[in-house]
Symmetry: C2
Subunit: 242 residues, 2 copies
């Protein structure tokens, strides 16, 4: 059944992706764009947009003049760094059964680092939400999110365990559009190590990031720490401009 929303392109993308994971293409060769367009009853442009997205996420590769092919190596990637949104989802993708524990959920005066990241003034307040994501009872990810208190709409913020982007939609009516992230290797301090269940000084990876909404306003300052022994991030690096 063809409907708008999800877009035709996304439907086509999902359809082809399904055939890929079900290994329905002989020799890993995907049919020509013109054939796909005719078979699915859409324009070649729509097919090309869908294939473009699949190529970008590493599921396929294309060779001008030759054809389009399944990319087995790319399909192995579980967590694509550029697309990580919910850590529960990431853990699920790794085959874990994730759970969340909220450690902190309080309003504090902003610290200088967050004030700069979120363009706040000294003395402004932020809501600090600290959470741990666990697989079974093993902590894997520790996050600290800071949201300007001025953005909060009501005081009945019950679902503290929501993914932060859902929390922002629910209680601030802001839609998180993208993160600008910095990747930093860290030696976990006593507090962080305790919360992640490892020894102080253990090596870990961390993100320091600022989240923006559709109006390009900074709405969240996030810091995340990962157990490197349990979670590895991968990404595809391409030639600039491609």
């Amino acid at each position: 059944m063809i409907t708008r929303n999800p877009s035709l392109t996304d439907q086509v993308k999902a359809h082809i992706k399904e055939q890929i994971v079900n290994d329905e293409f002989a020799d890993g060769r995907i049919p020509p764009e013109a054939t796909l367009a005719e078979d699915l009853g859409v324009s070649r442009t729509t097919i090309r947009d869908a294939l473009g997205k699949l190529e970008h996420e590493g599921a396929i590769y294309r060779k001008q003049g030759a054809g389009t092919f399944v990319n087995q190596a790319g399909l192995q990637i579980k967590s694509r760094l550029e697309e990580i949104w919910s850590y529960e989802q990431v853990l699920e993708d790794h085959g874990y059964k994730p759970s969340v524990r909220v450690l902190t959920d309080e309003i504090f005066p902003v610290n200088p680092e967050t004030a700069e990241a979120l363009q706040l003034d000294e003395g402004d307040e932020v809501l600090v939400i600290e959470k741990v994501f666990l697989e079974n009872s093993t902590p894997v990810v520790l996050t600290r999110n800071r949201i300007p208190a001025a953005l909060l709409l009501g005081s009945d913020r019950k679902r503290k365990d929501l993914p932060i982007y859902e929390y922002l939609e629910e209680y601030c009516d802001r839609r998180l559009s993208y993160y600008l992230s910095e990747i930093v290797p860290v030696s976990l301090d006593a507090d962080q190590a305790a919360k992640l269940g490892v020894k102080e000084g253990t090596l870990g990876l961390s993100f320091v990031e600022v989240g923006y909404d559709q109006n390009n306003e900074a709405i969240v300052h996030a810091t995340s720490y990962f157990r490197d022994d349990l979670l590895r991030f991968r990404l595809i690096r391409r030639r600039a401009g491609a």
Copy 2:
């Protein structure tokens, strides 16, 4: 002057990017797509493709129904992780004057890890090129590239200091298409620390990656180590599927 190659889209993109960095758009507002199309004498599709690339690399953002705007925050990013290709270029972008020193350039029997990454057999040989990238006389990046010896075309490989993708084109006639990379925090061992001019055990970031050519054949296994105090990597994380 309008010519093919670079594509119209890339010419349009470069043109708009230049106007952005020269701050030629009042209020950071970029003209409507229809206007750009008419002014530049191309179709709206071409304009949209160009704007799409600029949006993807963080230079602009778009709001349906409202317009297209310059993204000041995104413009600040120097090294976009997904697009890093030459470390000399990265160091230049950070305002450094880079230089390269080749530490190793020899053929060895393949080790098990590389054999698996490049689908080689035990006993096959690889060319190992180890290089350090320096700013002035300070080491910043240490890389080790391993190329299957079977790919080498001749024996007069003089330019060992070429970026590895150029080396592969020059001496193997293979075009590097993309890297599949894993990000790993490390405590530098004695050898690595010495080559980077820091104390053993210093915290660093590393990439472990496999490079593929257009036929999706693995052609290089690379390991890189970075001085975290001198080089930070950033990236833009977006909602999956967007």
